[in-house]
């Protein structure tokens, strides 16, 4: 693409200021995601009795809007990003309330609402929107603007997490909590409160263990594999062992036939079996690259809002991928969480596109804000 260095059109400025490496890495992930859906979803589709390429088609159809959304949002300036986030958060909160009344119950939780024929998972959109809005509130308060930033951020956090726990969706609540915690931490939360917050999170996890039976059973099974059914985890482990260094080859996996969520939460195991250790390490490296490069960019940024908001988005992206991969590798108890871009899921894909677009917009090199 030949764009002159002194091109001052919107696209020209975008091209020379956006983080092109991250852009490429995210695009590669999205394409890999389509490949993995092609590989992992036909067996699931056959099990539930739809056309084998049902999920592939849906994913492909949503991939383009997601990439377009990412590019579109990355063109925005931070203020527009903030406005977009504010609107998205408002909408998500309304829909989250909606799930409680009109939501479709799937596998024991109501997380989806139907809008104009599309099934939407509002919690996916709430996460990046919350990260940006909270980032703004923290930065504003920190820089002495006359708004009760901390109080508003805390209230917002309580509202979102409360709605997520009502679904219940402990996984998303955990992610939102992590975003909020890290942002508060960056915004200069006194160390005493940091310690208190860590302790609070631990006790919240312990609380979740006692309040939600499914959380309890998962942790029990993680601590003592003989205590109950560890079927999915055993199968995932088996997949990595079968795969070895180079994998069995695309489409040659057998474990995907017996894991119920092979195209969603356990897509990493399918990758492990079919493409092998080296490919999986590349995937991990890709995620790590996006997160670390994001941190490096943010580190040079002088705009506190951009720093806190972008960090929130990076924490969301990084934590989600880490939790998914670690639970597939049985490093931590199983937690239903999608692997960004690789797992099947329309809402997740679209929300990720918007979230990454926000990240790209916030990490663009801007005049006067570089140290």
């Amino acid at each position: 693409m030949a764009i002159a260095r002194n091109d001052t059109s919107v696209l020209g400025r975008w091209w020379w200021t956006v983080d092109r490496w991250t852009l490429v890495a995210v695009t590669v992930l999205a394409v890999l995601g389509l490949l993995m859906t092609l590989s992992a979803s036909p067996s699931v589709a056959e099990r539930i009795g739809v056309d084998p390429l049902h999920f592939v088609r849906k994913q492909a159809v949503l991939l383009l809007p997601a990439l377009v959304a990412m590019l579109g949002v990355s063109l925005m300036d931070p203020r527009s990003v903030r406005r977009l986030a504010l609107m998205m958060l408002g909408g998500s909160i309304l829909l989250l309330i909606g799930t409680l009344f009109i939501g479709a119950e799937i596998k024991g939780a109501t997380r989806w609402v139907s809008i104009a024929g599309f099934t939407v998972q509002p919690s996916e959109f709430a996460k990046p929107a919350f990260a940006v809005v909270a980032g703004w509130l923290f930065a504003a308060r920190r820089l002495g603007e006359p708004i009760p930033g901390y109080a508003l951020a805390c209230a917002l956090y309580a509202l979102v997490v409360g709605l997520l726990l009502l679904q219940p969706d402990v996984g998303q609540a955990t992610v939102v909590t992590a975003i909020f915690g890290v942002q508060f931490f960056l915004a200069g939360l006194p160390m005493v409160l940091v310690i208190l917050m860590v302790m609070g999170s631990v006790s919240a996890l312990v609380g979740a263990y006692f309040v939600f039976p499914h959380v309890q059973s998962r942790i029990d099974r993680f601590l003592d594999p003989t205590a109950g059914d560890t079927y999915q985890i055993d199968k995932a482990r088996e997949a990595f062992m079968n795969g070895g260094l180079f994998g069995r080859g695309p489409g040659e996996g057998i474990v995907k036939m017996s894991i119920p969520d092979s195209h969603a939460d356990f897509v990493f195991a399918v990758a492990g079996e079919e493409f092998g250790l080296i490919a999986c390490l590349l995937i991990v490296a890709l995620f790590a690259f996006i997160v670390m490069r994001g941190f490096a960019r943010v580190l040079q940024d002088n705009d506190l809002f951009a720093v806190i908001a972008a960090t929130g988005l990076l924490v969301q992206f990084g934590l989600q991928s880490l939790i998914n991969m670690a639970s597939t590798l049985s490093l931590i108890p199983t937690k239903g969480m999608t692997l960004p871009f690789l797992s099947y899921g329309g809402s997740s894909l679209l929300a990720l596109g918007i979230g990454m677009g926000m990240l790209l917009a916030l990490t663009r090199r801007r005049l006067g804000v570089l140290s």
Partner: protein
Amino acid sequence: MIGPFRRTRRPKPPELYSPRSKPGGDRRPVLNCAPTRTDGTFRRAIETGRSRLLITGAVMSFAFVAVGLRLVDLAAFASPTATSAPMHAETAYRMHTDRATITDRNGVIVATSLTTTSLAARPDRMLDPVDAARKLAQVFPELDPAELTAKLTSGSPFVYIHRKVTPKMEQAVMELGIPGLEFERDETRVYPHGPLMAHVLGFTDVDGRGLAGIEQGMESVLKGSDDPLRLSIDVRFQHAAHQELKKAIDTYSAIGGAALVTDVRTGEILAMVSMPDFDPNHPADSPAVNRFNRATFGTYELGSTFKIFNTAMALDSGVTTLADGYDASEPIRISRFTINDYHAKNRFLTVPEIFIYSSNIGSAKMALDVGPPAQKAFMERLGMLQPIALEIPETGRPQYPDVWAPIYTMTISYGHGLSVTPLHLAEGVGAMLNGGMLMPATLLARDNVPTGRRVVSEQVSYDMRRLMRLNAVYGSGKAAQVNGLMVGGKTGTAEKPGGSKGYNRRSLISSFVAAFPMTDPRYVVYVVLDEPQGTKETYGYATGGWVAAPAAGAIVERIAGIAGIAPIEENAPEIQHAFAIDLPEETKKLASLRQ
């Protein structure tokens, strides 16, 4: 720039963030704005944010490294088989059933319990019993819809609909979605070999209670343990005996028969067949008469095979020797009976000749020499007057005269007047050959062999081996010969009670008892046919030598290979010498003596 300015002076983000607000390439004013934000608050905030960002970044990169390492650990170093496979094997092995498995002596499963499902209904909980009956009849074509409807509308709160439902049928019933149906887990007894060991194993009722054979006799043991019960039976021996007996019964149109193989050293029963038989998996499908056990429950006058005991008794008591003899020239007349010889020689016969010609006259005279009380005591010691204490309930009680008069002494000498089971005979013959010790028969594998009870001296036992060998070479047992296996044997042909003269000449119990190798006896093979009919090949004869001896020989030949008994050179000088018994020239020329 601190103090009052902090709260009032608000940075102007639009100018900072949006280059668009500045037309053209003139960026100077924007750059100049930057220093306005370098006040203390901002600097402190951004510094804190950066240092804490570094911490966050470090934690995250550590987590990514951990995931990478775990990936390498799982994919490159763990072996796929080591972790999960043994766990499954172990759980399968520990499976518990309500009734223990039964195996043969080599661990082959001959009876085991499988988990099955029974379908039951609680009609009072059904929405529409008539509709339910119609739907169920579609899944189980063997059920009559009308009958099923009657069952479900009978007012009974609980009815069984179908026992032993297969998983496929179970799924089909589930898919009907009828409320008020219940599946009950229970067990089904399965006999993988079908009728092969019918009379040994017996069978169980639908509730898993033993109703015959080992299943009944060992009920408490089978109920109380998860360990398999090991029988003395060897299915390979059992199969040989089963097949050869069946062949003989079919060939000679017998109404039934029995075959036994026992180990003379331990008393273990290695094969036990009674015919006609039944399939213990479906005992009710065969006539009840098929469950009658001819090998251990039926008692018969077994005829000339008893001359083995009679001869041994006479030799052991010292009234005669192998060199002595008796006059068999005249039939014995006693009260209204006449004792004749089937193959009358009408002359003086030596003891070996009496044995191989199967002379009733000679045997009766030998027995009279011993005397009735001593004969009864001998029979008692040999276990011929008591039921055998076997592990199955089907054990026949011998019938013998209340008053042991001389006439009975004479008839019992050649196997009439005393009815015993075929197992009694096999057990007794074993004692005659193993050195003189009676080993109690058993159907359970014997790890510790009991001492047994002495019934005859070792010398007499040795003489009996020689006599039985002689009979198989020169006498009535030629058809049971298997080259090199040193088979010895004795025929028996008895008329069954009935008919005009007390006995029926056409209804025979024809038998042959073989044992091998006579150099060091291991196995007794006994074949009994009930009412065999002669064929053209046997010239119409249905006697033991014609109909039972070939079957016994066939069994011997088959089991010798399985047991690993190698043939020897029967004509070797040392063997000829060890088994030599002097006989008159005429006997050796007698070719077709097959009684």
